[in-house]
Each structure stands twice: as C-alpha cells, then as structure tokens.
Symmetry: C2
Subunit: 207 residues, 2 copies
C-alpha cells in the first residue's frame, strides 16, 4: 500500500508517519520509485503500537526501547517483562532511601533477585512524594493496594499466551504500558461510586 | 520565617518559590520591609502540596484547580472528590464511543448520576488506546481489574477522616492524585514476582 493508505488505515497523519520513518521507529517500505515506497501489514501493526505507546504518554526514546524489545525479544517472557519495565521506568536521580519500599516489596512476595532495583526505586520515589506532602496511607488502605496489585498481576501473568513467542512479547510489553491509564480511570470511577455510597444523598449520616 | 528558611524546610529552591508566588499558587507572606516578607507554617504545608502535585506530573493549571478545591471546599466529601477528579481528568477531545466504557462502569456498581461523564470518557479513551494497538484484555484479567478497583476504592473511602473538613479535603484531594504512581509501581513489582513464579528459573515448564 502507499503511504496515504497506511495513513488512512491507522489514522496517523502522513507527516507523522514520515517523522517516525526519519526517527527509525518505523522501518522503511520497499522503494518502488525514487520518491515512492510501498508498505505492508507489518507497518500497520507497528504504527498501531507506536501510536498506542505515544498516546499512553511514553516518550519517543522510551518507545524506541520498547520496540527494540519487540524486535529482539529476550529468551524468556520473564526477561522480556523486565526489559519492558526498564524501558518505561525512569532511572533514579540521586540516592533515595528504599527501606520502606523494600518492606512493601517483601509483602508482595518478592525474594532477592526477583525484581530489578529500578522498580524498588520507583516505589521509593512514589512513597517519597506522598510523604513530602505529609500524607499518610492508613494500614487498611495499604493492605488493599498490596492485595489488589498481587491479584491483578497474577491474573495478567496467568493469561500470557505461550503459543507463540511473538504473541507473548506483544502481550507482555503492551499490557504493561497500555493498561495503566485504564486502571487509573477505573479507580476514579470506583472511588466516586464508593464515595456516593458513603457520603451521597441517601447515605447514612457520618456524624 | 524568611524565604530562605521556607526554601530550606521544603527543599524547594527560592527561585521556584518566587515563581509560585508570582503565579498565585502560593499566597504572599506578610511584608516586613519593601523587599522582605515573612512566611508561616501554612506556607510550608501549601508548598509541600504544590511540590507533591508537580512531582506527580500534574500541570500548573491543574495544580491551581486542586488548590482552589482545597481553599474553597464543596459542601460534601463526595462533591469534593468530584472536584478533585475534574481537576486532574483531561477534558475529552472530540466524540468518543462510550458504549464499552459504560458497561464497565455499570460493573463497578455505577448508577445514573453517580459519577461524572468525564470519568466515563476517561475509561473510553483508555479502552480506545488499547484497541488501537490491537490488544485484547482477557475476561479473567478484566474481572481482576474491576474487583481490585472496587476493593481499593472501598478501603480508601472507608478511611476518609470525618473529624474535620480540612482533614477530609486533604485526604480526598491528595489521595486521589498522589497514590497513582505508587499503584503503578506496585503493579510492576507484582508482575515481576508473578512472572518469576510462572516463567523464572525453577518454575514448571510452560510447554
């Protein structure tokens, strides 16, 4: 197909496609004339992935790392998940106290060597931001966070397709990144529902 | 205290504090000389909130809306949660099909009028991004997302302090925004743990 059809099929403007080509995110098509190339279905699939990652707030540099993991997958799905997480986890700036983060990670079932230091640092940064705002998470709420994280991860990993490496790669890399906005949006709605039940009209008085 | 001590106590550079003062995010101190003002503990608390929101990726314009909700809280915690969510939920661009989002929202316990259209649109946008990447969420995984969202929200709302309106306001507004990076970081670690259990060394063979 020509670049105009590639644009029509993916909804990505031609100028943007040309930008991805120049940046090397999208492999070039087969050249059919000095100023014309032809593209395949694999270009459509790749563009869908790029657009989805960008729409999720992933930077061009991070998209490149995720695409590298897709193109040259590590041997096992576990290593692949590590590569996908590394691509979208910002590297730590400066030292950060990880004591509290490590104790949470242990409650998630972690054992030494099971997960990257950068992920523990990610939890430490999040906790740091929360405590800088002088915000305390009640114990019962933290338990709900930990149990829910475990429940979600177990369902996700139990459903990784193992019939083809390509399917496993897509599922792990995209699932890790694309699902985040959905989870945050679901939590907001669930909060409104729970809040209406507790504080809304018809709810029992609170004081 | 002088602006230098305010900076030392919050870790926010003096130049940044002056920027927040100019932008009206931070109320001015009491002027003690033509070029000198004195600041109180309430300035420290406000700066902690601003810094935490900015660190969570909230824009200056959104920070302003959250601070407005803190300064002039709606009558009930439920309305306040709505204001906080509205401040941090991007407004929809163009029409979007909300059919699939509405059916998820119903499974969360939603009834007409219980939550804002913008939240349903947020779920619809997230689903849209996922389907643009040709990614399908298995039913068992989606059920885990919905049940976990409900469990998290119920624990959070059950723990809203009702002893003082100010405490409720802080808890609802900050909890809604600040917790998001923590939840995402916990999910990543839980995924690595579950993945090591399924695919790592010592795990049963998958094929």
């Amino acid at each position: 197909m020509r670049i105009s059809e590639l644009s029509a099929r993916t909804g990505v403007p031609v100028a943007t496609i040309k930008y991805y080509l120049r940046e090397g995110l999208l492999p070039g098509g087969e050249r059919t004339a000095p100023t014309q190339s032809t593209y395949e279905d694999r270009h459509v699939r790749r563009l869908q992935v790029i657009r989805a990652l960008i729409a999720s707030g992933v930077s061009i540099a991070e998209v490149r790392k995720v695409l590298d993991a897709l193109d040259d997958p590590p041997a096992s799905p576990h290593d692949l998940l590590g590569a996908a997480h590394a691509a979208v986890t910002p590297t730590a700036e400066g030292d950060i106290d990880t004591t509290a983060a490590e104790s949470l990670v242990e409650r998630l079932g972690w054992q030494p060597g099971l997960c990257d230091d950068s992920l523990v640092a990610g939890i430490a940064r999040a906790l740091n931001t929360i405590s800088q705002a002088d915000f305390e998470i009640p114990d019962a709420v933290m338990s709900a966070y930990l149990e829910s994280s475990r429940r979600i991860a177990q369902a996700e990993i139990a459903n990784v397709p193992t019939d083809s490496p390509e399917a496993a790669v897509r599922y792990v890399v995209l699932g890790s990144v694309l699902i985040e906005p959905l989870l945050l949006a679901l939590r907001r709605v669930a909060e409104q529902v729970a809040s209406a039940e507790r504080f809304g009209p018809g709810a029992p008085p609170t004081n």
